[in-house]
Symmetry: C2
DNA sequence: CTTACATATCTAGTTTTGTCGATATGTTCT
DNA sequence: AGAACATATCGACAAAACTAGATATGTAAG
């Protein structure tokens, strides 16, 4: 848990948005085409559509968030579902409280 | 209070350190040469000495922190004393709690 | 096994940030 | 006014981040 690395990951509007949206997926994302709920996360495609940036960029952003453990990726079939890692978020916030 | 701007300001080890150190100046900095206490902040020179980077770089970092209101600069004579802006820090942390 | 599709990775150009030395500004002391 | 000093700003180069298109990889469907 490196505080500054986490700050870097969140030093970008789009990535911050994604983290916010993933807290309440039903509120921000359209549903999955196959009707699957968000219990295992939101599929990359759906996130990309919302972000309105290129597929490669969004994929890269998700990789950045994943590298610092802010999201968890679940690959199911050809889809990857991303969900917030609330534990990391909690630790991050309490580390900030302590260190800032 | 733009969350992401604050994250950017803190997405750097040195700037994060400075914020941490300014929370307890007596603990981290040597005293001022003229014996002045830290009640109005820590003089830029003393910060620079601790950071061990060039004067211009440290001055620039302090300007970055000041731009987002994380520190307050008090110019007294030819010295500038920097202190944490605890209000901004508090708002930042609570905004993060809300938005992240 | 070939095609179609979702996602990841690679390549590259652009923009932003990091960092320093040099110079400018402002203050104090003589 | 001039010297000495603290800090800020400027100019430049290096490193990192942003972003997209092209391509590769992995999976599912015909």
């Amino acid at each position: 848990m490196q505080l500054v690395e986490l700050n870097k990951a969140l030093a970008n509007d789009t990535r911050m948005d994604i983290m916010l949206w993933l807290r309440e997926p039903e509120k921000y994302f359209r549903g999955h085409k196959d009707g699957k709920d968000f219990s295992e996360g939101v599929c990359a495609q759906v996130i990309q559509e919302k972000v309105e940036m290129s597929q490669s960029t969004v994929s890269h952003y998700l990789a950045v968030l994943q590298r610092v453990d802010l999201v968890i990726a679940n690959r199911i079939g050809k889809w990857t579902y991303y969900q917030r890692n609330d534990e990391t978020v909690r630790n991050y916030l309490s580390q900030l409280q302590l260190n800032l």
